[in-house]
């Protein structure tokens, strides 16, 4: 059951659904409105919304009270653990997925940043230390 919710702002929800389900293993749970969809992958519930006008029923992507519109992008992101980062990156590149950088080796993990079609980052990582692993063996 999904217990963690993350909201991403996207330009086109249908395009985003195709991307996350087609390349990153998400499953569509609901898509009741052109501006809203809910996907899941393991414990993660990904809420995709496109910017809507002030009167729209969807409350998660309206402009702020000062008029500022919500938009995709930034650096904050959810992370997905993969067992073979290099292999995953090769496969995704062949599928036409774009990356923001190349594989970086950090303290506990190797990581890379995928860009979704709206320019939102998704971090893929492979633990190089057991403490950094997400899933129990």
């Amino acid at each position: 059951m999904s217990t963690v919710s993350v909201r991403y702002i996207v330009n086109d929800v249908d395009e985003a659904i195709a991307f996350y389900c087609g390349h990153l293993g998400f499953t569509e749970q609901m898509h009741p409105d052109p501006a809203f969809a809910m996907l899941t992958r393991g414990d993660l519930r990904l809420v995709l919304v496109s910017p809507v006008p002030p009167g729209h029923p969807g409350g998660g992507s309206r402009p702020m009270p000062d008029g500022t519109k919500q938009c995709p992008g930034g650096w904050n992101r959810f992370m997905l653990e993969v067992p073979d980062l290099a292999g995953t990156v090769d496969a995704l590149r062949r599928e036409g997925v774009s990356f923001r950088n190349d594989i970086v080796t950090g303290v506990g993990v190797k990581q890379v940043l995928v860009d979704d079609p709206s320019g939102n980052p998704v971090e893929l990582f492979e633990p190089v230390r057991p403490e950094a692993r997400l899933a129990s063996r």
Binding site: T3, V4, S5, V6, R7, Y8, I9, P32, D33, F36, G42, D43, L44, V47, P57, G58, G59, G60, R62, M64, P65, Q70, C71, P72, G73, G74, W75, N76, R77, F78, M79, E81, R100, N101, D102, V104, G106, V107, V109, Q111, N120, E123, P130, E131, A132, R133, L134, A135, S136
Partner: protein
């Protein structure tokens, strides 16, 4: 220079901090080692999110004191790992090693943006009031969407955290109206 023969007798240096959060984290670690689970993550199969923050200590204090996160790991000035239920939140400082380092084109990660974690609370109005009393800043006011009421909270670096409650909460039979932290 020749190695000091006494090195073998020295214990590894553990930086002890007089903070209850640190003591709690250490206690959990020791308990896990005794149970033979030291090599397993504190929150198995958690969903993981990374946020960039300007000041690590300020951010840790905000997420732990205001939003109920627990600290697992801290690398001073660079990185921290917190958790809250099934969410593992990584805090990274721009420019620091690992995820904080610049891209090949020199672009440095930064806090901000509109993508955010969404935390469910049991009484949104009371939670917002308590957070305001504690000095927290919000980006908007409570809005009612389809099925949920929500608000967007600002962390000290300007990152967003969404708080929400199911819109039918107060109408449900037996619903508690007591306030509290999320």
């Amino acid at each position: 220079m020749a190695p000091d023969p006494l090195d073998a007798l020295r214990l590894p240096i553990v930086p002890v901090e007089p903070r209850p959060e640190f003591a709690d984290a250490l206690g959990r670690r020791i308990g896990a080692e005794r149970a033979g689970r030291a090599r397993e993550p504190a929150v198995p199969q958690a969903a993981t999110v990374r946020y960039f923050v300007d000041d690590l200590d300020t951010a840790i204090s905000f997420y732990c004191r205001q939003l109920g996160f627990q600290e697992e790991v801290r690398s001073p000035g660079a990185f921290a790992m917190l958790h809250r239920d099934r969410l593992r939140l990584l805090l990274s400082v721009p420019g620091a090693a690992g995820a904080g380092r610049a891209l090949p084109d020199g672009t440095v990660p930064a806090p901000g943006g509109w993508n955010r974690i969404a935390l469910q609370v049991t009484d949104l109005a009371a939670t917002v009031a308590a957070l305001r009393d504690a000095g927290a800043r919000f980006r908007d006011d409570i809005v009612t969407g389809v099925g949920v009421r929500q608000i967007v909270l600002l962390d000290p670096s300007g990152n967003l955290v969404e708080l929400f409650e199911p819109a039918g909460y107060h109408e449900r039979p037996g619903a508690r109206t007591r306030g509290g932290k999320p």
